[in-house]
Structure formats: structure tokens, C-alpha cells
């Protein structure tokens, strides 16, 4: 039982990272039907911005987190504005290839500016382990999970209670009808990229804090995993991304704790294939709605 709870907490910590990244994937897909393959690299950028804010500018954990989220929000908006918007009316494959191009660009820009080697991440969160009835929990893990929960609550609030959040849902469902309401579709899409990218930045900071090392290519694997998480939950569905991320984290941790560490990634990808075969609309998806 205690090992189970132990693994549960580990799984939720890893899953939090996937969930935070998956949200951006799913929100962007929901609104412009694009798999934004550069999203994992925005996550990487977020980790680095916080790194330099913390070590160079001494902004502390929360200060660095906020700066990194703001910087990535801007990065996301810029990417959309200059790489994706000009292609909005062209084929989906053109946009997808562009996304891969943006991804490669960010990775190489990272290598040029900060070097290819991994660097140790500062200990931004207090890391005291304590024992709860046989279960070892670190304050770091609690912090990560709490932060993720707070982010999700804020996101739910924005999406369901604010005007711009409602506009996002309207545009995601029917951009033309949204225009007839006077909604500025471009601005709403920019906002979606800003929110998704800020969440990816938060995930980057959490990742650094959890794994203690970052490098310019760190976004590739978590990006793919988060994509799987988004598909698992049902791409385009926000609660689906949250649950999909957490579930994927739990599954990976389970596989690992059973002694099949080497199989961890393979299991994630096998899961993707399985979903696509059995339930392509994901856990939370309704049957593929055809829009008329």
C-alpha cells in the first residue's frame, strides 16, 4: 500500500508536467486544428528563461516562474503571428510542416545561444523529504502538484468564466459564427497561444525543478509524451488533456516501478497506437462530430 501511494505521488508529479504541456497542444488544436509541434520547444524556452531569471536576475522561484510564463506567452503569440497565421487558409499539411520547422528553429536557436550541453537546474523549490506513514514525500513534489492544480483551476476559470475564455470556446466551435458576434478571431487565437505557451513555460520550470537538468533538446520527448496525453484525453478537450497527462504519468511510473524502466517510452507510444486504433476520439471525446 505504501509503495502504491509512493508511486502514485511520483506518477502525479511526472503527469503534472505532461498535463501542463498537453493543455497547450489541445487548446491550440481546438482553435485552429493544428498540432503545434513547436510546443515542446516553448516548454524548453520556459525552463531556460526561468533558469536565467533565477540564477542571473535573482528573482526567486515565483518571480522566475512569472517572468518565464510571460516571456513564453509572447513567444507563442509571435510564433502564431509570423509562422502560422499566414498559412491559416492553406492546407493542414503545410501548417504541420511549418510547425516542425519552427520546432527545429527553436531547438537550434537554443543550441546556439546557450550551448548544447545540459546544465544543472538550481534548486528553486525547497526539497525536504518527510515521512507520512511510511510514504516518503518531498516538499518539491507537493509543490509541483500544488502548482499544477492552481494552474488548472486558473485555466478553468479563464475558459469558463471570462469573456475572452468564452470567446475562445466560441471560436473553437465555429469561427465564422463567432465573427458574426463581433468576436475578433485573430486576437482570440493569439490569446490561446499566449495561455498555452505560458502553461508550457510553467511545465518547463517544474521539469527543471524535478529532474534538475535542462538542455535545448529537452522539449522533444516531453513534447511527444504530452501530445500522446492530449490524444489520450481527446484532442481539443481541455479536461481531457489534464486527465490524459496525469494518467500517462501514472502509467509510466507504474511501468517503471514494476522494473521495466527501459520500456517506459515504448509503453507511452504503444498507448498512442492503441488509442488511435480503439478510441481515436480519446477518453473524453464524443464520437467524431461532423460539422455541417
Amino acid at each position: 500500500m505504501t509503495t502504491f501511494i509512493q508511486q502514485l505521488i511520483n506518477g502525479l508529479s511526472v503527469g503534472s508536467i505532461y498535463a501542463l504541456i498537453a493543455l497547450g497542444y489541445t487548446m491550440v488544436y481546438g482553435i485552429i486544428k493544428l498540432i503545434n509541434f513547436a510546443h515542446g520547444d516553448v516548454f524548453m524556452a520556459g525552463a531556460f528563461v526561468a533558469y536565467f531569471s533565477y540564477t542571473g536576475l535573482h528573482l526567486g522561484f515565483f518571480g522566475s516562474l512569472v517572468v518565464s510564463m510571460a516571456a513564453c506567452a509572447v513567444l507563442g503569440v509571435v510564433i502564431e503571428r509570423f509562422a502560422y497565421r499566414p498559412l491559416r487558409k492553406s492546407t493542414r499539411i503545410a501548417a504541420l510542416i511549418t510547425a516542425i520547422g519552427v520546432s527545429l528553429f527553436l531547438e537550434n536557436a537554443g543550441i546556439i545561444t546557450v550551448g548544447a550541453q545540459a546544465r544543472g537546474y538550481p534548486n528553486m523549490l525547497p526539497d525536504t523529504a518527510f515521512n507520512l506513514g511510511g510514504v516518503t514525500v518531498s516538499t518539491k513534489q507537493i509543490g509541483i502538484i500544488a502548482l499544477t492544480v492552481v494552474m488548472m483551476v486558473i485555466l478553468q476559470y479563464i475558459v469558463h468564466r471570462t469573456k475572452i475564455g468564452k470567446a475562445m470556446r466560441a471560436v473553437a466551435y465555429d469561427p465564422e459564427a463567432a465573427q458574426l458576434m463581433g468576436i475578433d478571431v485573430d486576437r482570440t487565437i493569439s490569446f490561446t497561444f499566449a495561455i498555452g505557451s505560458a502553461l508550457a513555460a510553467a511545465a518547463g520550470v517544474v521539469y527543471g525543478a524535478y529532474y534538475s537538468a535542462i538542455d535545448p533538446l529537452m522539449g522533444i520527448m516531453p513534447g511527444l509524451k504530452a501530445f500522446i496525453a492530449a490524444v489520450l484525453g481527446g484532442i481539443g478537450i481541455i479536461p481531457g488533456a489534464m486527465v490524459g497527462g496525469l494518467v500517462l504519468g501514472l502509467i509510466e511510473t507504474l511501468v517503471q516501478s514494476l522494473g521495466f524502466s527501459l520500456w517506459r517510452d515504448a509503453v507511452a507510444f504503444a498507448l498512442l497506437i492503441l488509442i488511435l486504433l480503439i478510441k481515436p476520439e480519446g477518453l473524453f471525446g464524443k464520437h467524431a462530430r461532423e460539422k455541417v
Partner: protein, 234 residues
């Protein structure tokens, strides 16, 4: 109020609207009737700024609006109830109505109009927390109309509001259209149901393959042999 002059609209090589001219005066209900593919939706979409015409002009209250983007047209006072309703199925009834008032800043006025819409459509009030996608076709049409009214338009464009509805509901919808008009909103009504449309409208235009074939008062057109044969079933 609305003045459409020599409008030409193309989809690629398809000439969808050919030299269309029509007017809608303040306080009127004007109907545009025509068969499938005549170009009715195309005209409303052009007025709403979703399509840019190749030539001609659309003037609203004296100013040209063909270069005005769709999201600005609403601000000027033109709302559209699009063909097929197009309610936001994944949002609640009340959220749909809020979206209709998206550009408005006068909270008190919006609240008042929300109550006005609910009193006009009591069924929407009962279902205000329900997702729009779970409403029946008639209820969705009422929601689409209510949503458009939330912008407090001076000109309301309606694209086939009777489409797919049972006769009893069609009656109800047309009665509501009359009420909305009497409450001060000018209406341009696109319909295939010529009988109902002519009964509620002051004037009418008949559109055939992108051209205006006939126009006149509803009473005149209802008596015309051509209209009777083609649109009123004999």
C-alpha cells in the same frame, strides 16, 4: 436604411450574385425568396462582411460597409441569424446569449436584454444552463434569434429561420419575427417558405440564379402568377 447597389459576387469563376440591387427601409420587413442555390445566403454573407463583393456597394445608414470586416459590422447595428442556426453547441444557452452581446459594454442594458430574450422565449430560460447542442431544432432557432437580438441590432438578417422546423414551430417563429419588428427592429428575411414569408413581410424580392427577377409589395407578389407557380405551389 440598407441600400444594396449593383452587387456582383463571385466564388472563383462562379458568378453567384449578378447586379443585385435592393433596399430595406427603416421599420420594414423585407423578404428575399428564392430556390436552392439562388444566392440568398451569399447576399446575407456579403452584407455581414463575410464575403467581399467584386463590384457594387452595400450601404448601411448612408455609409458603405463592403470594406468593413464582419466583426465590425455587428457594432454598426447589423446582426445575422445564419443559415442552419450555428449556435455554439458546446456552450450553454446563456453563454450563447452572452456571446451575442460580446461587443456591448453596458452591463445593465445587456442584463435587461437578456431578460427581454427570456421573456420572448421562455423555453430558453428553462434551459439556460443546458448545452446549446442538446436543444431541439426549434429551440436552437430561437436561441440563434435571441443571440442576434442580444447585440441590439437595428437591422436583423434572418437566413431561412423556418428551415427544418415542424409547421407549428414555423408559425411560432414567424409570429416572433413580427413581434421583433413591431418592437422596432428592421428585418431582412431570407426564405424558401414563400407563403409564410409573404404573409409577414411588407415587401419582397424574388431571387433566381443570382438575379432579382421580381420585386414589389408582398400582397402584389402573392398575387403574381409567376410567384404562385414557382413558389406557392400553384
Amino acid at each position: 436604411m440598407l441600400n444594396v447597389r449593383d452587387l456582383n459576387v463571385y466564388y472563383g469563376v462562379i458568378h453567384a450574385l449578378k447586379n443585385i440591387s435592393l433596399t430595406v427601409g427603416p421599420g420594414e420587413i423585407v423578404t428575399l425568396i428564392g430556390a436552392n442555390g439562388a444566392g440568398k445566403t451569399t447576399l446575407l454573407r456579403t452584407i455581414s462582411g463575410l464575403i467581399t463583393p467584386r463590384s457594387g456597394d452595400v450601404q448601411f445608414e448612408g455609409r458603405s460597409v463592403i470594406k468593413t470586416p464582419a466583426k465590425e459590422i455587428v457594432r454598426l447595428g447589423i446582426s445575422q441569424v445564419p443559415e442552419g442556426r450555428r449556435v455554439f453547441a458546446t456552450m450553454s444557452v446563456e453563454e450563447n446569449l452572452e456571446m451575442g452581446a460580446y461587443l456591448r459594454k453596458d452591463k445593465a442594458g445587456v442584463q435587461k436584454d437578456l431578460e427581454m430574450v427570456y421573456s420572448r422565449f421562455p423555453r430558453l430560460q428553462e434551459r439556460r444552463k443546458q448545452l446549446a447542442g442538446t436543444l431541439s431544432g426549434g429551440e436552437q432557432q430561437m436561441l440563434a434569434i435571441g443571440r442576434a437580438l442580444m447585440a441590439r441590432p437595428r437591422l436583423l438578417l434572418l437566413d431561412e429561420p423556418s428551415m427544418g422546423l415542424a409547421p407549428i414551430l414555423v408559425q411560432e417563429i414567424f409570429q416572433i419575427i413580427g413581434e421583433i419588428n413591431r418592437a422596432g427592429t428592421t428585418i431582412l428575411l431570407v426564405e424558401q417558405n414563400a407563403h409564410m414569408a409573404l404573409s409577414v413581410a411588407n415587401r419582397a424580392y424574388v431571387l433566381e440564379t443570382g438575379q432579382i427577377k421580381l420585386s414589389g409589395s408582398s400582397a402584389e407578389l402573392a398575387q403574381s402568377e409567376e410567384v404562385k407557380k414557382a413558389y406557392l405551389g400553384g
